[in-house]
Amino acid sequence: MTTTTPPAGIRTPLIPPSTHPYAEVIHRLEAGGSMLPDTPENLQQIIGIYKAYAVPMDFYWRDLLYIAEQVFLNPLPAFKYFISQEYLDRPNSYAGDQSQLRIWRGGEKAHPELLAFMERGETRRMPKLLHHLWHDRVNMEFAEACMRAMLWHQGMGGRFNDYLESEAYRANADRAIKAYFRGNPLMLGLYALFPEMFLEQVRQLSTTANLGLFWEVMAPVFFEMSDLYDEGQLTSVPQAMDFLVNGIFAVAGRPIYHHVFIRGECFEIIPMSEGFTWLYEAALPYVEAVFYRTSPFRGTKSYNAQAGQVPADQADFHYGILYADVFPVGSAGIPPTLLMQDMLHFLPPYLQELYREHRRGEEDQLVQLGITFQRSMYNVTSAVIQALRCALLYPLDDTDPKHLLANRQFFEAQMDRFLRPEARLPDIQSQDYR
């Protein structure tokens, strides 16, 4: 990408143009825009995919909390994806009349499209077990892969992971484990022999709760964006990004916790009183782990660690959706193919029409959908970058050149992460990338 001069309307005389390879994108960010170019089709694509993402996400967060709070340490969790009616009806904390903190419109219970899909799948009405075995269901495997990425990478800021190693956490987990296996001498004996194994499982479940609580926020955000777009209130990509930034700040301080319910009793493994917050303990680690890092996906593309194809430092991992080769085989990152399959069921008609018009139409909808998802996640990442800039640095309309230069350095540092050849940032600048 060549160095460019900012457009006349946003030119600032206070600092010179950036010479960064992604100068055009940086100037756009400095003007309050997104990494994704502001075009009507880009807006249509990302809003459409947010809607298609929000429906399975409405299941993800409910089931993740169900697993973390109810299934817990079940040694044979064969039915952990068979969510209970209680969790399916669980009111969203941020939407609906019964919500604790109503920020977004929409109902508090599971989305009607999700319920309809759970009833019939893409095949036909049949017993839930057959839907499950036939994989005609929401793929929770994707959600769990995201959770494992968060657990595995750690060290991405915040205090959450440190707390998982603390004595207080061990004591809380110990009480819950003993309560859960009460009357089961075999499991209690195993726990006595291998306490770390059980503790590690509980840490994973705490991360599961963390991700569930993160997505509990995001699902109604995406639903509302879709509604606003349909009503003509969201008309540009920066507007969509700003909506996300505002949403992030609205819930930034909401609690991240892990409660377990054993025989009707609540065990607070991570109490709310610890003060873990949504932005720093869930949102930022999630973006870092899932959008940027994840791990070399064991798919059709092979990575040879001994040949240096896998970085030695986890912080240098670059297998997330922002780098993923969605085309042709979803060969990197969290297997996006599973999520793509989930989103396919809930595509709005205008996206289906768009895909029919390009490339192989319905034949390769999954690939086109995956690339749309990549675009949309670049927009979400832009929102996170702008939110961080807002929280840590200076306003975009600041008149102090030093402040603007600090903002510039922040944006350039963020863009440095996309200098790798695998990064799809240059691709999404073109509408032909489908």
Binding site: D325, F327, V329, V367
Partner: protein, 506 residues
């Protein structure tokens, strides 16, 4: 009448096609395909109910008469010609430019080839042989790629030399033989007449030398192959299906019919050199294919290499090797047509056949998985993988030639092994890896586009698991003209049913 019908079908259709309305290209294509398929059906009828030979006086002063016949050597060639012509027509794009002329020229090619195969008169054979050159040159010159002019000129020049050599050889055959006998009547060029008047050894050498040049160019074989790589690279893929699958087989047929059949002494004397030329062709073709940077050129050199095997089998001239030669003609015809059909689809969709520019075509979502799957099968068949058409043909060639030319056979075996090398190299680069998103903006192949490849693949597989389909046609005919007997045990095993004199005592 059946024999005449085989010729009249492409002749009449070829004349009618230009009269069809220009606004209906699919009708033109349909008529051309139907003509070739009907010819194939008539050929099959002739197989089940062999027609009597036909002899009509044409130009008696020149010794030219319309002598037509079908035997074990020509029948499979005629069937192959009908089949490949039909497949080439169907493999041509639906939006073929100037379809009336294009398909008429294809049928004219078919007419010449089938005429040569049916001919029982050497001059008639030459006439048909020469006829093929005109439409094929035009097909290359008009519908070829960027360098079509150069390709057409080279094709024409080599073809003209080939035709002149053949004409000279045939005339010399008649004049040296029947002229030397002092007969007052006009020289007859019927095969019977030529066979009945053996030439003196020196004249046989001369005639065979001319024929070898003529047919060697047509096959082609090193060092007279100069027209082939550029023609195969520049001509439209369906035209190459015809050139490689049918037209080049005229050379093989001619060597078998004239060289082995009519000039046995000279053939025996020349055969070590012919075998050596075959081995050189096999190695030269294989090595060039290994380093080729374009799929079409790779296929061209691969074809050249396989023609080397064919020539080796003809040189050995044992019953088994000649059976192998005919089997190789049929197998190679099917395989090369399938390969170029797949290459044509790749070029039509991706716009290139440069190996460096292609990758990931096996991609199931946006690649050409079906085409690449069939291409893999065709490459495996060319490499002689058991269960496919190439295996029985090459096995017969090697086993039949081994006892006569062990060194040349060994060289050809090694060269044949290189087929696997360039096949794997090609497939690895073109089919695997990442499909370029910017390039991969094409629609998947339609059912109608896949049809020719499916038919050819079916036959390649069928011939592999039922090799009699390749050999049974010619078993008796090749045994009759074989010049040498291979190892007695092998000979007995191979030919016991048709060679009672060599069977074990009761």
């Amino acid at each position: 009448m059946t024999l005449l019908l085989l010729l009249l079908l492409p002749l009449v259709a070829g004349l009618v096609l230009p009269l069809l309305p220009q606004s209906r290209p699919l009708l033109v294509r349909g008529v051309a395909a139907a003509t070739a398929l009907t010819q194939l059906v008539v050929g099959l009828v002739a197989w089940r109910q062999p027609p009597a030979d036909l002899s009509l006086t044409w130009l008696p002063r020149l010794g030219l008469s319309l002598d037509l016949g079908l035997d074990g050597l020509s029948l499979p060639m005629v069937l192959l010609a009908g089949l490949i012509t039909a497949m080439a027509v169907l493999a041509s794009p639906a939006d073929q430019s100037r379809p009336r002329l294009y398909f008429a020229l294809m049928l004219a090619t078919n007419l010449g080839v089938v005429g040569a195969f049916l001919a029982r008169n050497a001059l008639l054979f030459v006439l048909a042989f020469e006829l093929v050159l005109i439409p094929t040159t035009l097909l290359v010159a008009i519908w070829g790629g960027e360098r079509r002019a150069g390709a057409a000129v080279r094709f024409l020049l080599f073809g003209a030399v080939s035709g002149l050599s053949l004409l000279g050889g045939v005339l010399a055959f008649g004049w040296f033989g029947q002229g030397a006998s002092g007969a007052d009547s006009a020289v007859s060029f019927s095969f019977e007449a030529l066979a009945a008047t053996p030439l003196p050894p020196s004249a046989q050498m001369l005639v065979l030398g001319l024929l070898l040049l003529g047919f060697g160019i047509k096959l082609p074989i090193v060092p007279v192959h100069g027209w082939q790589p550029i023609s195969y690279a520049e001509a439209p893929a369906p035209v190459v299906m015809l050139l490689g699958g049918v037209v080049s087989k005229l050379g093989a047929y001619g060597l078998l019919r004239f060289g082995v059949g009519l000039l046995p002494d000279a053939w025996s004397a020349f055969s070590p050199w012919i075998a050596a030329a075959g081995a050189v062709s096999a190695v030269y073709g294989a090595l060039n294919a290994v380093v080729a940077t374009d799929i079409r050129r790779l296929m061209a050199y691969s074809s050249l290499g396989h023609m080397g095997l064919l020539v080796l089998a003809l040189a050995a001239a044992t019953p088994m090797s000649l059976q192998g030669a005919v089997a190789q003609v049929l197998a190679h015809g099917l395989i090369v047509a399938l390969l170029f059909d797949c290459v044509g689809l790749i070029q039509r969709k991706t716009g290139t056949t440069a190996i460096a520019e292609l990758s990931g075509l096996l991609n199931p979502i946006r690649g050409l998985p079906f085409t690449m799957g069939l291409m893999l099968l065709a490459l495996m068949a060319a490499a002689g993988i058991p269960g496919l058409a190439g295996f029985p043909a090459e096995l017969l060639v090697f086993e039949g030639s081994w006892t006569v030319f062990p060194r040349a056979t060994l060289i050809c075996l090694v060269a044949s092994g290189f087929t696997a090398v360039y096949a794997v190299r090609l497939f690895n680069r073109v089919a695997f890896g990442r499909l370029d998103n910017n390039r991969a903006d094409w629609q998947s192949t339609r059912l109608s586009e896949r049809l020719p490849a499916v038919v050819l693949t079916t036959l390649v597989v069928l011939a592999g698991i039922w090799p009699v389909g390749l050999t049974a046609w010619s078993e008796a005919s090749t045994a009759a003209i074989a010049l040498r007997h291979s190892d007695p045990v092998v000979h007995h095993l191979a030919l016991a049913p048709t060679s009672p004199s060599l069977s074990l005592p009761a």
